[in-house]
Symmetry: C2
Subunit: 267 residues, 2 copies
């Protein structure tokens, strides 16, 4: 099956995972398996996993945990019966002492029997709800990665883990920003309502056109930048906290699960 | 009973109405009978009442009707068993051909047997929810009337009634603005979520320090102006549409009802 055969719009979560596993998804999982939850990944050795779980619990907006593996297991049945966390993501980052030492599509050589995998909710879930409501999402329109910024807002530390809150930014007209607050408030398990809007300098963002992760997008004069807590926050925490070893997803290369986005709507 | 005996914080809706009826409430009803719904008032002759009701139905954010009288009746039992719309408001405005010709505490001399009274939800209801959440409301802190602005947004016309949307403005820090969207979204019958925030020039507001009604309040550099649809919109419609006769409340002098604000929370 060649690349031309991949039509992510027709896939369910399992088909998308299988395509990733077979190396048929180059790079981003954006647009794959509409309606299915995608997640950010953090894998840590058992000795750091409890601290990380406390860190996530203390910072639920950027780090909403939607699945955790048993120690040493590459499976998370609650997210997909066949799921294998070692193979089902198109791109991984491998970290040593807070440095990203490799970006790879295959983590077999790095796998260890003491690893615990955390899957964290992702903004793709609420973006789907925004698009369904008729709101334009600029990075989708411009075919870019969402712009993300490290802020001056500190996360709540837990054990060895600490670091800045990372936010994603979507420019919206004021009335759409209000509607977006309403819509995303329905999805507390996938980052929920924005954390800030309109005044980026107040959260330590100096240049809205120079994101720390992802791509810059057009922000028009009649739009406000709206900021949501972002699942890349754990990667900023790895860089700040320097645990000996970790694996994460590469930004944009998410884990596609069998869960439905709509299951996360609270009302 | 002298003015010193009036402690609005201890009143229920009926006691507040009786105090108004006895002339013991000078001017504003702000702060009277916490927890009880207050309303904006529009009284029109039967010949214009049907058009106005259609106007309100077409513009539910500024004109959410919470009670209507029978033709010629000064009573609205659904809002209070003893309620007398002719006496229970501290200040009225009398309108002829779109001009306010009198501001008075007593409309007995203007009463007619063909009048229909409309009571329209008021932002006091959602302000109470904001304050309970710990959000500072600037005009309350500064002991002023809320600043209100005629916007460049037209209401949907109905029959003879048309005119600009009037908005009230509260300056809020961005995180509080987001929280305020969530809280006020729960109160669709009392203006609901904001209609705009952050970019006042886009809705025709040239000077945030020069409101068209009410008082200017301090807007700090770290705050966004947040705008809600306002129950003074019907008064702008009277001025624009020039019906032969109407009575309204004077801004800030509301009708206190027996309903509870919390009854209007949808979730």
């Amino acid at each position: 099956m060649g690349e031309a055969a991949i039509d992510g719009r027709l896939m369910d979560g399992r088909a998308a995972r299988l395509a990733c596993r077979m190396g048929q998804v180059p790079g981003t999982t954006a647009g794959l398996a509409p309606g299915f939850v995608q997640g950010n990944l953090v894998i840590l050795p058992r000795e750091d996993a409890a601290d990380f779980m406390r860190f996530a619990q203390a910072n639920p907006k950027p780090c909403p945990i939607i699945g955790v593996s048993d120690v040493g297991s590459p499976h998370i049945p609650a997210l997909g019966a066949d799921l294998d966390i070692r193979t089902d993501i198109p791109g991984y980052r491998v970290w040593r002492d807070g440095e990203c030492i490799a970006e790879t599509g295959d983590v077999a050589e790095f796998w260890r029997d003491d690893l615990v995998s955390f899957v964290i909710g992702c903004s793709y879930s609420f973006e789907e709800a925004l698009v369904e409501d008729g709101i334009e999402i600029r990075h989708i329109t411009e075919n870019k990665k969402v712009p993300m910024f490290r802020t001056s807002i500190a996360t709540t530390p837990a054990g060895r883990f600490h670091g800045p809150l990372v936010v994603s930014m979507r420019p919206l007209k004021p009335a759409d920003a209000i509607r977006a607050v309403q819509i995303t408030s329905r999805y507390p398990a996938v980052h929920g309502a924005p954390v800030h809007l309109g005044l980026p300098s107040q959260i330590g963002i100096r240049d809205i056109n120079a994101p720390d992760y992802g791509d810059a997008v057009t922000v028009r004069d009649d739009e406000l930048p709206v900021f949501w807590a972002c699942g890349v926050t754990p990667q900023a925490a790895l860089a700040a906290s320097k645990p000996p070893f970790a694996i994460t997803h590469a930004p944009g290369s998410m884990l596609v699960t069998d869960l439905k986005n709509r299951q996360y709507a609270v009302i």
